[in-house]
Amino acid sequence: MSEESAVSEAMSTGEAESQLVIDIRGATKVFNPGRSNQVEALAEIDLAVEPGEFITLIGPSGCGKSTLLRLIASLIPPSSGSVQVNAKPAEQARLDRDYGMAFQTAGLFDWRSVTKNIELPLELMGWSKGDRRRRAAEMLELVKLSEFAKHHPSELSGGMQQRVAIARALAFSPSLLLMDEPFGALDEMTREHMQDELLRIWKETETTVVFVTHSIPEAVYLSTRVVVMSPRPGTIASTISVDLGDRSAATRDDPAFFKKVTEVRIALREVEG
């Protein structure tokens, strides 16, 4: 607990400017090694992410972007190479609860109210009931769902559920937010709205975000850096920096925005061969 707050404190005061949030060197992942159904999912990945960045991983299906995210989350171990999060092995970062995670399906627990869903990680970390309630209320305010505190997930729309999932992922103020196609199942209008909400939350919380998507406009609109991946085996084909300043509705019509979208599209086309 104290270690975590120390880390996030160091981040916000800028003391640890040079410390990388994610440092991946030569990481590979082979599923079912030595068997007939062996799959080389990732080959020789190098990736460094600075504090406060918003990174999207984009690429065709099967390029291993979700696998890469799970390596960072230490939900699966790399076959070789090293994955460091907050200057420690990813496994340790997971045990220290250094990151929050959101998935394609909101994955809320139906039997818990919205508030209790957000409290879940806090319960696991041994927070007192009062602290949990207070933090859940703060998080609900952050995602603008305060009036639905006592509702159950099944009563909420898909976009609202995803917002609860984001609130849950950020409830314990992790310095890193990992998102696996969280808006993939939403309709286009809700999706754009959620992107704006996410950017607002990203700025307010000063979190580092790694975001998996296969939507090019989404990647460009959200990120400070787009990582384009190629399939079989998954590698990082190119990295495209995006500097569009503060995003707003106008950004989506900005020629600079379209230029970046085209740039990413060309990079992806090359990847697909």
Binding site: R70, A73, L75, R94, L95, D96, R97, Y99, G100, M101, F103, Q104, T105, G107, F109, D110, W111, L120, P121, E123, L124, M125, H151, H152, S154, E155, L178
Partner: protein
């Protein structure tokens, strides 16, 4: 109850919200009452229908019997009947108020006491079966190899006829179960038979329930570095409850059946099983008593089913009800 106007003239959102909530609670109570009334009426009508069919067929079967010569063809296809084979509904129900020879209690009271005795056996067996079933489900969910290895035997255990093992368990109980600190009673052997029927649906459905969380939910718990117990308590057990209760409804009625069959084949005195067996012996002198005692067993089965349903509504009911609104 006065109707609450949702469009009440007030600008205070808190007041409005409060009124809306009040109305929602009121509607919920009203819906619950309507549901119970509807279910009760349906049940009574259905029972009346069954009694009507029974009485109707009985009249028909007796008519065939009375006119054997004219209705010979029909009589050779459809079974004939009489008061001995199908005692009138009125007599069956009338039996509940009678005092059988040598007793100073009315029949329904005797049945009630014996039902309690059987219920105790069944309940003890049910609880033990629940624990054993969940333990098996947990073990199988934890070790996949075990699932492949052990599950066939769990299934095979249910193919052994109950009638065959019941006397064995009673004999073992009388002769060999002196390792327990308490004195082994015959009814405990009957409980074991109830356990035998209970643990199976609990183990199979419990396993399905424990494995029901989606992979992302499992990954979410892992991302929080939750340990096995935390994952079990906060994810897998709550997720398994709907599956578990489906099994418990089967298990509860099965435990009653197990207890009754156990009493019959083990010769245990004091419960409904013995009662049914005795009434079957005395069938020719009082067929209505056999029917009445079987009805008593049915009522006991329905009772335990309703108890489990009630517990389910309290434990998991809230979220189900809300999701339908």
């Amino acid at each position: 109850m006065p109707k609450i106007d949702t469009m009440a003239e007030t600008d205070d959102p808190l007041v409005r919200e409060h009124r809306l909530k009040q109305q929602a609670a009121h509607e919920e109570r009203r819906d619950a009452v309507v549901r119970i009334v509807r279910q009760t009426v349906t049940f009574v009508l259905f029972m009346a229908l069954l009694a009507g069919l029974y009485t109707g067929y009985k009249a028909f079967g007796q008519a065939i019997d009375d006119r054997q010569h004219e209705w010979a063809v029909v009589g050779s296809v459809l079974p004939r009947t009489d008061d001995l084979n199908m005692p009138p509904v009125s007599e069956i129900f009338g039996q509940f108020g009678e005092t059988p020879g040598g007793r100073d209690q009315i029949y329904v009271k005797i049945l009630f006491d014996e039902a309690l005795f059987t219920l105790r056996e069944a309940f003890a067996g049910f609880m033990v079966g629940l624990v054993i079933g969940m333990a098996i489900a947990l073990a199988l969910a934890q070790w996949r190899r075990l699932e492949q290895g052990l599950l066939p035997y769990v299934i095979a255990s249910q193919t052994i006829p109950l009638i065959a093992i019941a006397p064995i368990i009673v004999i073992w109980g009388r002769k060999n179960f002196d390792v327990f600190p308490w004195e082994w009673q015959d009814w405990m052997s009957v409980s074991i038979i109830a356990t035998y029927l209970t643990f199976f649906p609990v183990a199979v459905n419990g396993l399905r329930g424990l494995q029901s969380p989606r992979p992302e939910n499992q990954e979410l718990m892992e991302s929080y570095a939750a340990n096995w117990l935390q994952t079990l308590w906060r994810l897998r057990l709550p997720a398994s409850l709907p599956y578990l209760f489906a099994a418990l409804k089967i298990a509860a009625t099965a435990s009653i059946v197990g207890a009754i069959v156990g009493e019959i084949s083990a010769g245990v005195e004091g419960g409904l099983g013995r009662r049914i067996l005795r009434e079957a012996f005395n069938y020719t002198t009082g067929p209505d008593r056999l029917f009445a005692s079987v009805l008593g067993a049915a009522v006991l089965g329905i009772f335990v089913f309703l108890v489990v349903t009630g517990v389910e509504r309290v434990v998991v009911g809230n979220q189900n009800r809300e999701s339908t609104t």
